[in-house]
């Protein structure tokens, strides 16, 4: 097709959301007074005008086929007011302006196989990325990990069992698209990349691959007379950063790609400042299709948190109060030399005091 026949794009950018908002939300924009929580999975927001909306939060499979999307829309039309919002963690929210609609809506949602919950001090939906279904660098399938874990955590999604909300994330590589979480289950590579030297010079822009390495372990090399790259395996931290710009540097490995679990990432400024997650467990087998070993550790951490934390303490608040030694003692997880940071500024993570709990 000639260029002149191509349709030029309309660069409309980010659409205006007001046209898609429930009219009661539009009317009371910026004028909400407070909210309360009639039951798990339901929020009730009261505006200064006296208007009230009820929101029903729904967990889904996130990767929606068109049939499922239409079912969710049908429920929205029949039992709600025709408006749907999605949260950051891919929960779906129906909003209604009539309390009488709430119970029939919940029933319709549950009858269709979806799950109502994820509010307040629950374990809300795990956030995750694409995995083997669509990503070009995944070490695991986050969608499958999430499905397997949510099967086991569904009661904690549907109730208010936890001291405070729990955000769990999963990621299929160490870039960690799933993001920081109270608990994060992330791929951890344990071996340097395996290089297909026949392909490197054709596929990879070598200087930018060299520049990508965080520890300067990659250098240009001639291998069997061909320009390629080599890795200083003693320096290599097995992060996989070279794999996206250079696919012939395969980092994923059926046996040596493991899962690691991190806790205490918290984006909120509530109480303390936002915190990053910290390593607690590693060497966990990447074991499709159900990843039982990872789920078992997550459940173990949640059990101790639930028993030991005070109301309103997120996992980071709780660990800060009881101290890391007790966290490892209570969870029974091994503490190893790999838990001691060795990155830039690592010394700031050591204990420069005699503050020790005995």
């Amino acid at each position: 097709m000639a260029m002149s026949d191509m349709r030029p794009p309309i660069e409309s950018g980010c659409p205006d959301g007001f046209q898609y908002m429930h009219p009661v939300m539009r009317k009371n924009f910026g004028q909400w007074k407070y909210h309360d929580d009639p039951r798990p999975g339901v929020l009730r927001h009261v505006a200064h005008s006296g208007d009230i909306v009820w929101t029903v939060k729904v967990g889904t499979q996130r990767i929606l086929d068109i049939f499922t999307l239409r079912t969710l829309c049908d429920i929205g039309d029949k039992y709600a007011d025709g408006y749907i919002r999605f949260t950051l963690r891919s929960n779906l929210e129906y909003t209604v302006a009539d309390e009488a609609k709430v119970e029939p809506l919940i029933k319709a949602v549950e009858d269709a196989g979806f799950v109502v919950g994820g509010t307040k001090n629950s374990v809300t939906s795990l956030s995750h990325t694409q995995g083997w279904l669509h990503c070009d660098i995944p070490g695991t399938d986050a969608s499958g990990v999430v499905k397997s874990m949510m099967d086991e955590l569904i009661d904690d999604f549907k109730s208010w069992n936890m001291p405070n909300r729990v955000h769990i994330t999963t990621s299929c590589c160490q870039i960690n698209c799933g993001g920081q979480g109270d608990i994060a289950i992330n791929v951890q590579h344990t071996k340097p990349p395996k290089i297909n030297h026949d392909l490197v010079s054709n596929v990879c822009e070598r200087p930018s691959v060299v520049a990508r390495c965080p520890v300067a372990a990659i250098r240009p090399a001639l291998v069997d007379g061909k320009p390629s790259l080599e890795v200083d395996e003693k320096k290599c931290i097995c992060c996989g950063a070279c794999f996206p710009p250079c696919p012939p540097m395969q980092i994923n490995d059926a046996e040596h790609t493991k899962l690691a679990i991190w806790v205490g990432g918290n984006h909120s400024n509530a109480r303390g400042k936002p915190t990053f997650q910290k390593l607690v467990a590693s060497g966990i087998p990447n074991n499709p299709p159900r990843w039982p070993e990872a789920t078992a550790i997550v459940k173990r951490i949640l059990k101790v948190y639930k028993e030991d934390a005070k109301d309103w303490e997120r996992i980071n608040d709780w660990v800060e109060r009881i101290g890391w030694p007790r966290f490892f003692e209570k969870t029974g997880l091994p503490f190893t030399k790999y838990h001691v940071d060795n990155w830039v500024g690592a010394r700031a993570n050591l204990n420069a005091s005699t503050h020790i709990r005995f």
Partner: protein
């Protein structure tokens, strides 16, 4: 179906259990969709996914696919095992920008779903971690046809690659009593200004805007964005003492002391003998904890604005960085206020485009060149709210100390700090 259905014994295991199964959904497309193209492409997709489960490896590689006139917005995917699974050999994703706060009508969701069913696999996700609607799986012509169709009724592609990425905002003022700003307006002012930079990747690396209406930061803006806008207030928080008493009556004094007063990070709260709450507002850091526990009794003040933090990002390449305060407080009321916000974003992106190394996020650049060089580069004066503590290393030349001290007192006299 004429073609053989790929066996999926491992994926079948993901149909067990009470949580909704994405595998069941994809299988339904394979088995029940009226269109042969979709049945075949999803069969092929499931075959490749099963192969990944068996071998514990991914088999997609990237490439270059874009729509006419743009350089980004598509995540190209070509199968490395296309011989075995030919119908899904091209399986590109389109990233489409949602409205701030992710609001939809069911009518619009159906319309988008219908278009995708026509041109793609019938699989979609609301939303990916960058904030886009992900329409997953079509071939190269399909990306253009689908885009042409939805672009006509108001939807545009998001960012992919080294560019300004799709923004994200929390539920915000539309339904949250804690919201201290108009997230919607902030988000659209910023993103609309950078539409060209969204569609045509030409920056050192990605640049993300995220907006949260209050310091609860439900949008993870500080941890996950280069430019975090967080609603806040600077006058006194509002206290409805009758509601405080009602909380005390309901939960008990000890609960309020232990879980509200005792958890205040700056010891700015006290429960008086008459069960009212005494607030030391000058020491309140707007952490939101007490407002979260007692939303009916406590509310943000009236003098509202935003804090802006720059430079947050995840691991690659120098480790995680939080965004740090560059503007402690900014009013956003008039059109000029919004314009100055956008101008500041332009300054920052221009400076970073000029000084950032390839694949270096804005926060990493600041780490490399130092905050002072960055602030001088974008024309922002230093403020003690930008730091946790002052300098602790004495190795620095301070030739200009007297002038700088005078400058501080002058700014103070003018009410700038």
């Amino acid at each position: 179906m004429a073609k053989k259905i790929h066996e999926t014994p491992m994926l079948d295991e993901l149909e067990n259990g009470p949580w909704p199964s994405f595998i069941t959904g994809i299988k339904r497309l394979r088995d029940e969709h009226p269109e042969e193209r979709i049945r075949e492409v999803t069969n092929s997709l499931l075959g490749q996914l099963e192969h990944s489960y068996e071998t514990r490896k991914g088999y997609w590689k990237g490439g270059t696919v874009s729509v006419f006139g743009y350089g980004g917005g598509i995540i190209p995917r070509f199968s490395e095992v296309a011989k075995a699974f030919p119908e899904s050999k091209e399986f590109h994703t389109l990233r489409v920008q949602p409205p701030p706060g992710n609001y939809y009508t069911t009518d619009m969701l159906r319309k988008l779903g219908d278009s995708w069913e026509k041109h793609g696999s019938g699989l979609q996700t609301f939303h990916g971690q960058t904030g886009n609607i992900m329409f997953i799986g079509t071939d190269t012509p399909g990306t253009q046809h689908f885009f042409d169709e939805i672009n006509e009724y108001g939807w545009d592609l998001g960012g992919a690659g080294p560019c300004v990425r799709t923004g994200m905002s929390c539920v915000g003022a539309a339904r949250c009593e804690q919201s201290c700003c108009n997230e919607h307006a902030i988000h659209r002012h910023l993103l609309t200004n950078f539409t060209d930079d969204v569609h045509r990747p030409a920056l050192p690396y990605k640049f993300k805007f995220k907006v949260s209406g209050c310091p609860n930061d439900c949008q993870n803006a500080i941890e996950r964005s280069d430019f975090a806008v967080i609603g806040t207030w600077r006058d006194d928080m509002k206290v409805d003492q009758e509601e405080v008493k009602a909380y005390v009556a309901k939960k008990g004094r000890q609960y309020i002391i232990d879980y509200v007063v005792g958890m205040c990070p700056t010891k700015a709260l006290s429960l008086a003998d008459d069960d009212t709450l005494v607030v030391d507002n000058s020491n309140c850091v707007r952490c939101m904890h007490c407002l979260n526990v007692m939303p009916k009794a406590l509310s943000p003040g009236d003098d509202r604005g935003v804090s802006i933090l720059i430079g947050g990002k995840r691991t690659l390449k120098i480790g995680d960085l939080m965004g740090t305060v560059v503007v402690p407080f900014k009013k956003l009321e008039t059109e000029e206020d919004y314009e100055s916000l956008v101008e500041m974003a332009e300054e920052i992106i221009d400076f970073w485009a000029e000084n950032g190394l390839e694949h270096e996020r804005c926060g990493e650049m600041i780490e490399r060149i130092g905050l002072m060089n960055f602030l001088e580069g974008i024309g922002i004066e230093v403020d003690p709210n930008m730091i946790s503590n002052p300098r602790r290393i004495s190795y620095i030349r301070m030739d200009g100390w007297d002038e700088e001290a005078e400058k501080w007192f002058a700014r103070k006299a003018e009410g700038q700090v």
